[in-house]
Symmetry: C2
Subunit: 436 residues, 2 copies
């Protein structure tokens, strides 16, 4: 079995994954390998399988999007989860995470994993906790060995990246308590570990036995996604001492991962006011020495329930422009219900818009070509190309087809008074041929 992409990159060995990513990113494979060697880019790809599409995440690359799917204890429908996976891939997600907490977790994960051509992530503490709920009646019955057996099982199956909330420590929890918060802990993994830690009065096993985690990650080349169990759950809690204490710890853990030859990225908030987004990205990049930053949203208001994909698109665009590398989507159902297939679709597109907008702001050539193609089609009143150039041609086509203009080369917004048509015809003929 090969070594991790990180170790190989350090040795100057170019893998097929590196070549595929370099090609997609219009970057030389040497430059890419350097960035991987420095820990600034990751390619989540489990050694036990070959990804149909390898994806690079980090500095100098285009912004990537992740889609969370999975059952809950209240709603279990594997068929629907498969559909969510399919629609997310169709509209362009770069990675997917199975966050299932209801039903047969193994079966669900294996089914989704098999169908995913892109990097596949999990939060193994979910399965560890829920197995103990079913077997012994409570989360607190998790044992260290059991947690690591779940992690290893998932690694063997071919999971590419794992969220591990290693920074929820007795120290950071103490800081949280001392300071107080409006919404204490909103991370499920963080809450599971907190419950366990406070019950047993013991340190977080993922922190205490971090070397054991690194060993498994190294063995399978699992990219560790160091979770932010203490991320703010409201604007008022953003950038507080608990959050930053955890981030400081994650920076140290990232360094230890690199020393062990393990790829690592850092998870970030959450709920953050617009004016704090850039500072949060800068802090991560400084405290974690350039490790890729994976943000959830961020949501720039607490009150957008039903429209949190829009609040997340605003926060995500600014975060990515400031240097965040990987945007976890948020759906319109956030804070309200388990997302439906349609919610997933809307969520992915929202995050894709944020990522694209940041790529444009960063001057990415391919992104600019897309917008130029659309602009030229608009200038030509070429509707076929306009529809095809849309971020979601299906929806654009639906909108256009549901409202037919009387003149075929305009739309019903302006009809015959279409500005582009008026000016175009005038400039072409010098005298107005089409006098509406």
């Amino acid at each position: 079995m090969r070594e991790t992409q990180l170790i190989l990159a350090r040795k100057g060995i170019m893998t097929s994954e590196m070549k595929a990513v370099a090609d997609y990113e219009n970057m030389s494979v040497q430059t890419l390998a350097e960035k991987i060697a420095e820990g600034k880019v990751v390619i989540p790809a489990n050694k036990n399988k070959v990804l149909k599409r390898a994806v690079g995440i980090g500095e100098g690359l285009t912004v990537k999007v992740n889609t969370n799917i999975g059952t809950s204890s209240d709603y279990i429908n594997l068929e629907e989860e498969v559909k969510k996976l399919e629609v997310a891939i169709k509209v362009g997600t770069d990675a997917v995470m199975d966050l299932s907490t209801g039903g047969n977790l193994e079966e669900i994960r294996k089914t989704l994993l098999k169908r995913s051509p892109i990097p596949f992530g999990t939060v193994p503490i979910y399965q560890a906790a829920i197995e103990m709920v079913h077997k012994k009646g409570g989360i607190v019955h998790m044992t260290v060995d059991h947690i690591f057996s779940v992690i290893e099982r998932q690694a063997q199956e071919g999971v590419d990246f794992m969220t591990v909330h290693c920074g929820v420590t007795l120290q950071s929890l103490e800081r949280l308590k001392r300071q107080g918060r409006l919404t204490n802990i909103v991370s499920r993994g963080g809450a599971f570990l907190t419950t366990w830690m406070l019950y047993h009065g013991k340190e977080n096993p993922l922190y205490d036995h971090y070397d054991r985690l690194l060993e498994i990650a190294q063995k399978y080349d699992i990219t560790l996604s160091l979770g932010d169990g203490l991320r703010p759950g409201s604007l008022a809690d953003a950038t507080d001492r608990a959050q930053i204490q955890e981030l400081v710890l994650l920076g140290e853990l990232a360094q230890r991962a690199w020393e062990a030859g393990v790829q690592v990225m850092i998870e970030g908030p959450g709920h953050v006011p617009l004016d704090q987004v850039e500072a949060n990205v800068l802090l991560e990049k400084k405290l974690c020495k350039g490790a890729p930053f994976y943000v959830l949203g961020p949501l720039v208001t607490d009150i957008a329930s039903g429209y949190d994909h829009i609040a997340a698109a605003i926060g995500g665009a600014i975060a990515a422009w400031a240097g965040a590398d990987f945007l976890c989507y948020v759906t319109p159902a956030e804070h309200l219900r388990l997302p439906t297939v349609e919610d997933v679709r809307e969520g992915v597109i929202g995050a894709k818009i944020a990522a694209h907008v940041a790529d444009l702001a960063r001057g990415d050539k391919k992104a600019w070509e897309k917008d130029k193609k659309m602009a030229e089609a608009r200038g030509r009143l070429d509707w076929k190309t306009q529809i095809e150039s849309s971020i979601d041609p299906e929806k654009a086509r639906y909108y256009r087809e549901t409202s037919t203009p009387k003149i075929s080369d305009v739309c019903t917004m302006c009809g015959k008074y279409c500005a582009i048509k008026l000016v175009k015809e005038y400039l072409a003929h010098k005298t107005p041929p089409h006098q509406p």
Copy 2:
């Protein structure tokens, strides 16, 4: 009849409109009057009527949202336009513009104007152009007298603010031609005037006879919204010489408006990459000496057809945070069709989110109270307050009601593994009472 709010503010006379606005904004009426006197704040309110809700726009005030409604030559349904007005008001628009270009324009405008409790705007050149199309067969048959007669008619009826594309001059058009563009002119008003100017080889009547415009505006206290007829219609055209040449002219015209005691605001783009949004706001504030800035979006990508309300929410949030004062909504139907009632609803909410997010970033107390109320309700698992605190309680309620959790105080996203519930119960009892 009273004088304009600007003239009255200069004299230190506090109007009922100023008092209402100051009260809403938590600002002393003296401070507000100073800002109006300096031209940094406008209160669009026609002398011929009393607004149910006076609205202030400009520096130091909360960010406001405008909704464009109106028929097109391809789709005329007054009943539906009334519904659009109603839904826009229901979800919190601060102003509305009737951009009708199809059907009986007078009847449509009068009907909508009568039902609008908030500032009501128009683009009079539409009616001027379209009347000539119907009477004489072409836009080019507009005469100066006819244009001003339409403006005066609309002013008499009670229109509060008017978009006038005074900056589309022979000089700025020449700059545009010399430079070249991907999407020449995308403003309807700009295109009407351009067609007329190039056909006759004459200067823009709204520029040439600007004093006549100021006279009417002063007489009725119409707030002039100096339109950006040369706004970029694509990212590639943003912040180009044509756009900035027009903005320079608008700055001069704003100064002349103030000298005539006329309230004025400046319209801005359009299609602008994320990294140019802040500079665009700064330029407007400098070139136009602090006149309120009214932006359309801006759209931070060209390819979001079907989701342009999201692209506009991103651009609008950043623009408003940087100092833009008034956000014109963009609907998901933009670039594709005349918006439906549902499109209008989605568009207004998108713009409201952008405005609110900027208010938060600017530290507005009322905005923060809203988010804190929501965060506290989340912390308490108080669903009734969560729904009521949402930006659109109707939609939030729908989402929640379509997916019922097994335990009533959580949602189906996390079910019994709700992080807030787990931690809350643990912290309350010190030993986990609820062991999922």
